[in-house]
């Protein structure tokens, strides 16, 4: 009788343990926080493939949770759920890291492009101030000044795009202005060469 009671108690305890299996809520919350962090880091724009992998992992986790919840309480098991949560968190962390790295890269590229154009514009303005002035250069100088004004406007647009974190747009705007500045520089150079040719 005693043995029987002990056996029954053991079975009861096992049932209780099995019946009380709960989803790993803390780990799930952690994974969700990682997903949010990845989105905040701009993963949608800068790491779309990694974010898609996160979405897939999240879908797999949701499916598994639903399967377990649909089961009779005594038969639930969250062993696979643990694996899926870990996988999700790993992928979300990777998406955040990728987004940060890619955004940093885009930011650096845009900054470099803007820096190049700013330097080129400053040089071009200085060259224009020193450009040979004389017989009939007024029209050319006026045109070149206007060209540089357009390049400067594009550079300002690029800086505005940088402020709003549109790094790709900023780079495109800066690079588009670059050849206008180069063109002006070539004209100034040609004028200088023409003048020095005349002198010699």
């Amino acid at each position: 009788m005693r043995k029987m009671m002990a056996l029954l108690s053991l079975v009861f305890a096992l049932v209780l343990v099995a019946g009380c299996a709960k989803p790993p809520q803390q780990a799930i919350d952690g994974a969700n926080a990682s997903i949010e962090a990845a989105k905040q880091a701009g993963a949608a724009d800068y790491a779309p493939d990694s974010l898609r992998a996160v979405d897939d992992a999240k879908a797999a986790l949701d499916a598994e949770l639903k399967v377990q919840q649909d089961k009779f309480a005594l038969f639930r098991s969250y062993k696979k759920t643990d694996e899926l949560v870990n996988d999700l968190k790993t992928k979300a962390d990777k998406a955040a890291a990728d987004a940060k790295a890619n955004m940093e890269q885009a930011k650096n590229d845009a900054t470099a492009a803007i820096q190049n154009v700013t330097t080129a514009l400053t040089d071009a303005k200085a060259a224009l101030d020193k450009a040979p002035k004389g017989k009939g250069t007024a029209a050319d100088l006026e045109a070149m000044k206007a060209d540089l004004a357009a390049a400067e406007a594009s550079l300002n647009d690029a800086n505005a795009a940088m402020t709003s974190n549109d790094f790709k747009g900023a780079k495109a705007k800066a690079e588009a202005a670059q050849s206008t500045i180069q063109n002006v520089m070539s004209q100034i150079q040609a004028a200088i060469e023409a003048k020095s040719g005349k002198k010699s």
């Binding site: 879908a59 499916a63 639903k66 017989k135 009939g136 007024a138 029209a139 060209d147 357009a150």
Partner: protein, 395 residues
């Protein structure tokens, strides 16, 4: 009757265990049948190939950026795939005889169909957007080329020149955006470039419109004819300058004896109104002085402003069309250092030094100089004809 029942009872009593065993066995067979049938029929077999096929279709749609080009269709496909995978997992964890993957197969098939549809719709929309961007870029390239042509034909003011450059920069940017695959943004930027380029062309066409004004061209032709007639009748030398043709013709006895390439004031699209407007005046003038040594090699000074110019200036000043403190200007000459192939003077007519040497010998003080806009066949008249038609076609 009671004998019959008594026989049945005897039979049951005798065959009781055998009957029980038979019923039990039959039940076992039926249960086993129920349990084995799904396995034998293949219902419990996970549709791995279908799953992989649906998954591959979804990946194809993602690679084709269906999320961007056909977001609704792609969302449907993603959602259908999630439902299918969820159902798959649900069946997977059931005990083998109770698994039934038939609805999962259907769900996976539906997800695959939706993914394929999203991919195809995405491709179609992407191609449509690309075609629209191609068209916008082509239009913009034509508009900007026209605008650059205008910029080459005439000196534009600072605002218009800046707008011209802005349009070329916008076009470059549109091309860069296009190369990135963002066709709608490229289309928008190309349209902005087009709008700016068209504004420049319109401004230029408006400024040059008088060169295509039939009555004005007729007046200029009359002035030329009168000069030629005078040269013929007097046997003297006369100069005719056609601004838009960039030509200086020398007439002797009514015949052209020399024709030089000439540069004008850089705002010669206009008639000269006042000092500093960089326009070459239009009218009948005379050489007032021959300068053998001038800032611009040699020069022939003209009597601008003549009485007609002064009268017109006074009239415009009275109407308030000319600001205070501004005079009609002067020091208009035909001089050397020209032949540059562009308009650069502040209102004078410049020819090459070799040509001014030649002209200097041929003319004297008092030689009539008729300066007209053109003969209706020069670059400004062409600009109005070609670009004016294009602008009215695009607006």
């Amino acid at each position: 009757m009671s004998r019959r029942f008594s026989g049945l009872r005897t039979f049951v009593a005798r065959w009781r265990w055998r009957l029980f065993a038979a019923v039990f066995a039959a039940t076992l067979v039926v249960c086993a049948g129920f349990l084995v049938w799904p396995i034998a029929a293949g219902y419990t077999e996970p549709p791995t190939i279908q799953k992989s096929s649906a998954w591959s279709a979804l990946q194809d749609a993602r690679r084709a950026a269906a999320e961007r080009w056909a977001p609704d269709a792609q969302r449907e496909a993603e959602s259908a795939m999630r439902v299918a995978l969820s159902a798959y997992r649900r069946e997977e964890v059931r005990p083998l005889p109770f698994r039934d993957f038939r609805p999962v197969r259907v769900a996976l098939g539906a997800a695959e169909d939706k993914a394929r549809r999203a991919q195809s719709e995405g491709n179609r929309k992407r191609v449509e957007a690309k075609v629209r961007a191609d068209e916008a870029l082509a239009d913009s390239e034509a508009d900007v080329a026209r605008c650059v042509d205008v910029g080459d034909a005439m000196h534009l003011g600072p605002y218009t020149r800046t707008l011209l450059q802005k349009s070329t920069i916008a076009l470059r940017e549109a091309r860069a955006i296009y190369a990135r695959g963002d066709y709608p943004a490229a289309e928008r930027r190309a349209e902005e470039a087009s709008a700016q380029a068209r504004a420049v062309s319109k401004h230029a066409v408006d400024a040059a419109s008088r060169y295509a004004d039939a009555s004005l061209v007729a007046r200029w032709r009359r002035m030329i004819d009168e000069t030629i007639r005078w040269s013929r009748s007097s046997g003297g030398t006369a100069i005719v300058v056609l601004k838009e043709n960039h030509r200086l013709d020398v007439y002797d006895n009514g015949r052209v004896v020399r024709s030089y390439r000439a540069d004008m004031g850089y705002r010669s699209v206009n008639d000269k109104l006042s000092s500093g407007d960089a326009a070459t005046p239009e009218g009948r003038y005379r050489i007032t002085q021959k300068k053998a040594a001038s800032t611009y090699y040699k020069a022939l000074a003209l009597d601008y402003p003549n009485a007609e110019d002064r009268a017109r200036f006074a009239q415009m000043k009275r109407r308030g069309q000319i600001p205070r403190g501004v005079g009609p200007g002067g020091l208009i000459e035909i001089h050397g250092d020209g032949g540059r192939g562009k308009d650069w003077t502040k209102g004078c007519v410049a020819i090459s030094n070799r040509d001014i040497d030649d002209l200097y010998r041929r003319v004297g003080v008092g030689t009539p100089v008729t300066i007209v806009g053109g003969d209706g066949q020069g670059r400004f008249a062409r600009l109005v004809r070609e670009h004016g038609a294009a602008l009215s076609g695009t607006q």
